[in-house]
């Protein structure tokens, strides 16, 4: 791998990230709060660092050279880490945290759309910083790289390598012949949905600032709020419904949204993954509603409203909360825990293992059973009428094993740091799945502030692993990757 070439591209991304800090800065200036200084300082430092990296590593051969698979992964993994580091500067200089570890945790949690917070008191924080916190969600949701691909002409060559390394799902779709157009289309759809949600929230009486912040949290399936009580603070069935609907949209493959908007209304129905996702969501919502009806909530309507919200929030890996599900019966809690692993659709902004992978694994397992009964049968795992190659299946099995393996390893490590069983288990599940709230000490009403510092670094790694779908991050730790 050409390290200097990789860092050269990371420089471009960093510079670009610096430019996006202009938005919270504008809010800071508008509200005249204490975020202006730290944001301006962070912006300048980020821009300068990006430029320095870009110029420092601008050697011969940086243009017109094909980017290898390895370099693509390197740029994405290092680029995301850099985004986390520079994104933490406003929090650190804004005095939200005494140490950098916490600021870094908050920043990575934002970019990876996890939504796990180490802030105990949100109300009173300068609005510019709150806006930056939500904006990192939005940027990270569709992907910093995908956005750069859409806007920056510099990344055109080898764009596919970058795209593959960042976009979730086993086989990324290319919607348009050129990667730039594909990225552009995805961002346009994303922007359109975001605009619609902001508008709908404002119609429900939420002010522009909060509507934007919550839109960012929803569409990116992030989960950062501007209120301590999250969406529950509004106590409005209307707001709840809007958020539920848009969380659901965000959990569906954006390629389908695009086809739908292009005038193929059946696109959702034709896609097997989408049918599976909708089916699972419906089943879980119903089960949880019935389960909590009468025990927690008096009316069916309330049970559906709160049950549906929590299920949708967890399965799309958003992590907003309107109720403390830790008080719910154990079946409901169990379902929510399973949802953390299942996650949303491939090609959506959600995390988790993704419905498509689980579907294919189930189909593959069934195929194994089938061939035990008919040893001579020739079968193919198919999805939507198309055969899935063994190579893809192997890669999914590998992913599954790595996901589980890393989950187990990290929860052991966290437990070794003195965190209790349920919490260590749930904290890792909630960060590697990019959800946010877990169970126990990191439940929907708590946060991650009390996790030991070392544990926070471990969870930071988990969040990056989850967002970049394991392989892209793990590969950096494989010695073969660095060998010339």
């Amino acid at each position: 791998m050409r390290v200097s070439y990789t860092l050269h591209l990371v420089g471009i991304l960093t510079f670009f990230l610096g430019l996006t800090m202009i938005f919270p800065l504008l809010f800071g200036l508008y509200y005249q709060d204490h975020s202006v200084g730290p944001l301006l300082k962070s912006m300048l430092v980020t821009l300068a660092s990006g430029l320095a990296l870009y110029l420092l590593f601008k050697g011969r051969g940086t243009q017109n050279e094909l980017m290898t698979h390895r370099e693509g992964m390197g740029v994405v993994a290092i680029g995301w880490t850099a985004a986390g580091l520079f994104g933490a500067l406003p929090y650190y200089w804004g005095g939200l945290f005494p140490d950098f570890s916490n600021a870094f945790f908050e920043s990575v949690s934002g970019f990876t759309t996890t939504g796990a917070s180490v802030l105990t008191q949100l109300e009173g924080i300068p609005r510019g910083l709150l806006f930056w916190r939500s904006l990192t969600h939005w940027l990270g949701g569709m992907g910093i790289i995908v956005l750069s691909l859409a806007i920056l002409p510099l990344l055109g060559i080898g764009g596919m390598q970058l795209y593959k390394a960042e976009v979730p799902g086993p086989v990324p779709d290319k919607l348009k012949p050129r990667i730039k157009d594909t990225a552009m289309v995805l961002w346009k759809v994303y922007l359109l949905f975001s605009a619609a949600e902001t508008l709908l929230l404002m119609l429900g009486g939420v002010d522009l600032f909060e509507a934007l912040c919550h839109t960012f949290g929803t569409m990116a399936t992030g989960g950062f709020s501007t209120r301590n009580a999250s969406i529950g603070a509004y106590e409005s069935p209307y707001v709840d419904t809007v958020i539920i609907v848009f969380m659901f949209f965000a959990g569906i493959n954006f390629a389908l949204h695009y086809q739908f908007l292009k005038g193929h209304p059946l696109a959702f129905w034709r896609d097997p993954e989408c049918r599976f996702f909708v089916g699972v969501v419906a089943l879980f919502c119903l089960t949880v509603t019935v389960n909590i009806y009468g025990e927690i909530y008096e009316t069916m309507g309330e049970a559906l409203r709160f049950g549906g919200f929590q299920v949708m929030s967890i399965i799309t890996t958003t992590g907003y909360a309107t109720a403390d599900y830790e008080m719910w019966p154990s079946l409901s809690q169990n379902i929510l825990l399973f949802c953390m692993f299942l996650g949303a659709s491939a090609g959506s902004t959600g995390g988790g293992m993704k419905c498509m992978r689980i579907m294919l694994l189930l189909k593959h397992s069934y195929k194994q059973l089938f061939s035990l009964i008919h040893p001579h049968a020739v079968t193919q795992v198919k999805l939507g009428g198309r055969a899935i190659s063994d190579e893809v299946l192997h890669s999914i099995w590998g992913y599954f094993m790595l996901y589980l393996g890393l989950f187990i390893l990290c929860s052991f490590l966290l437990a070794a740091m003195g965190v209790d069983v349920v919490t260590s288990f749930a904290a890792v599940a909630a960060t590697i799945g990019n959800i946010g709230p877990g169970l126990g000490m990191v439940g929907p009403t708590d946060n991650y502030a009390h996790i030991p510092v070392l544990g926070k670094w471990l969870l930071i790694l988990c969040m990056l692993l989850g967002r970049l779908e394991i392989y892209t991050v793990v590969i950096l730790f494989v010695p073969e990757f660095w060998r010339k």
Binding site: I157, K176, P177, R178, K180
Partner: protein, 454 residues
């Protein structure tokens, strides 16, 4: 501009790579997952698995919105069927098909009409034969392009150490050439292409591309120290389709030609088909046979068998044994960078020839012909200057051409002008432009009609 390419083989891949670099929307269809993977990983194009001759697939990939369909698989039948359905589904799409079978080519005119309506039929071997013919007609050249129906030639020569112009700066070139003006269009040095300015110097070992009129060619070659010896004796190794076609062409030029072929059956067939050509049965890499046939006196030895490794070695052997010039058939593109390094004079590739022909039709504006310089780093386009385009009516130096683009000739009816910065292009002039690959989109834009005139 959206272009659908059916077939992700060498031809499809290379056309796709060229077009993708020029920011065109390219969709490649192929049944072979392995070939598609190469396309997908290496190029910024959409790769779709499926049979390109299937109407359902063509529909799915959005053929209706496509400007051009290139059917370039190795199978003539697939190409034909793809064009047939394309003509049914999307009549406005321009269709190019690569057809190799002689049987089909006999009905070329029929294919141009209903129901196929193929706009351009490309026969790679015929294109390759044309390319070799051009080369053979200009002895001493390593690369030859023809424009304005052959009236203008772009010639590439390799400078020998004893060449009179080696070590000369371009501004001083006229001192050596006397009256005649010579425009150096490009220099290839160490595998890199330079579009030169007056300050650049010529060195030995450079490949120098210059523009010349047909009738002044001999004098021009002399300036570069190349003797224009007429082509008299040619030895061809390999009697396949390409060998046969070339032999026929040489027969027409009344060049003394010998053809070596390994298969006795094929030899008999060739002997029947050819009149003046001496058909020899034997192995082209057999030293004894080569000596026997006076290889030392051959102007050109062309190795054209289907096995490229054999061709390379046979050419080197022939060169070693005294042949003046070699032409080697290579189909794998990854060997091209080796060519000049190991001392091969010319390479002929039916695939490369096909690609050049196809690219010329893909170009926008009124592009008449196009050629690719060594290493594919630059292209030369011939086009008509449209009245409403950006290039007419002002001195050439004021035309917004990108860096690395150069107008190398203007043809005004019967007159051929080798331009300077002050020359003015008039409407309906034919112009020949050389441009590096990066500059192509901008050149195309300049050639196009300005929008407000529509």
């Amino acid at each position: 501009m959206k272009i659908v390419i059916v077939g992700a083989g060498e031809v499809g891949f290379h056309i796709a790579s060229r077009l993708a670099l020029e920011h065109k929307d390219v969709v490649v269809v192929d049944t072979n997952a392995e070939a598609l993977r190469r396309v997908q990983e290496g190029l910024d194009v959409q790769a779709i698995q499926g049979c390109g001759s299937s109407p359902a697939i063509l529909e799915e990939i959005g053929l209706r919105g496509a400007d051009i369909l290139l059917a370039v698989t190795d199978s003539d039948e697939t190409n034909l069927v793809a064009c047939l359905f394309a003509s049914l589904l999307s009549p406005t799409t321009i269709k190019l098909a690569r057809i190799r079978g002689a049987d089909y080519l006999q009905y070329e005119d029929a294919l141009r009409n209903e129901p196929y309506r193929i706009d351009v039929i490309i026969n790679p071997e015929a294109e390759a034969v044309k390319a070799v013919e051009r080369l053979l007609k200009v002895p001493g050249a390593v690369d030859v392009g023809e424009f304005a129906d052959g009236r203008i030639k772009l010639i590439g020569v390799r400078l020998d150490p004893d060449s009179p112009v080696a070590g000369t700066k371009l501004v001083d070139l006229h001192k050596k050439t006397g009256e005649k003006k010579i425009l150096i269009a490009a220099i290839v040095r160490n595998e890199r292409l330079i579009v030169p300015s007056g300050k650049d110097e010529l060195f030995e070992g450079d490949i120098v591309y210059f523009v010349s009129e047909e009738n002044e060619l001999k004098a021009a070659l002399k300036i570069f120290g190349k003797k224009a010896e007429p082509l008299k004796r040619v030895l061809l190794v390999g009697g396949g389709n390409l060998g046969l076609k070339l032999a026929r062409a040489l027969e027409g030029l009344s060049v003394h030609t010998k053809l070596i072929e390994k298969e006795p059956e094929r030899c008999r067939e060739l002997a029947q088909l050819l009149d003046k050509v001496v058909v020899l049965h034997g192995d082209g890499s057999d030293q004894g046979l080569l000596q026997e046939e006076n290889i030392r006196d051959m102007n050109v030895v062309a190795t054209l068998t289907g096995d490229e490794e054999t061709n390379v070695l046979t050419s080197l052997l022939a060169k070693r044994m005294g042949a003046q010039k070699t032409v080697t058939r290579i189909s794998r593109f990854s060997y091209f960078p080796l060519v000049s390094a190991i001392g091969l004079d010319h390479v002929v590739s039916s695939r490369l020839a096909a690609i050049n022909t196809i690219l010329q039709y893909v170009r926008r504006g009124k592009v008449l012909s196009a050629m690719t310089l060594k290493g594919e780093e630059a292209e030369v386009l011939e086009a008509v200057a449209l009245e409403t385009s950006d290039i007419v009516g002002k001195p050439i130096r004021k035309i917004p051409f990108p860096k690395g683009a150069l107008v190398i000739a203007i043809i005004r009816q019967e007159e051929v002008i080798i331009p300077t910065g002050e020359s003015v292009i008039q409407p309906k002039d034919q112009i020949v432009i050389l441009s590096t690959r990066q500059g192509i989109p901008q050149v195309e834009k300049a050639l196009m009609v300005k929008l407000e005139y529509f």
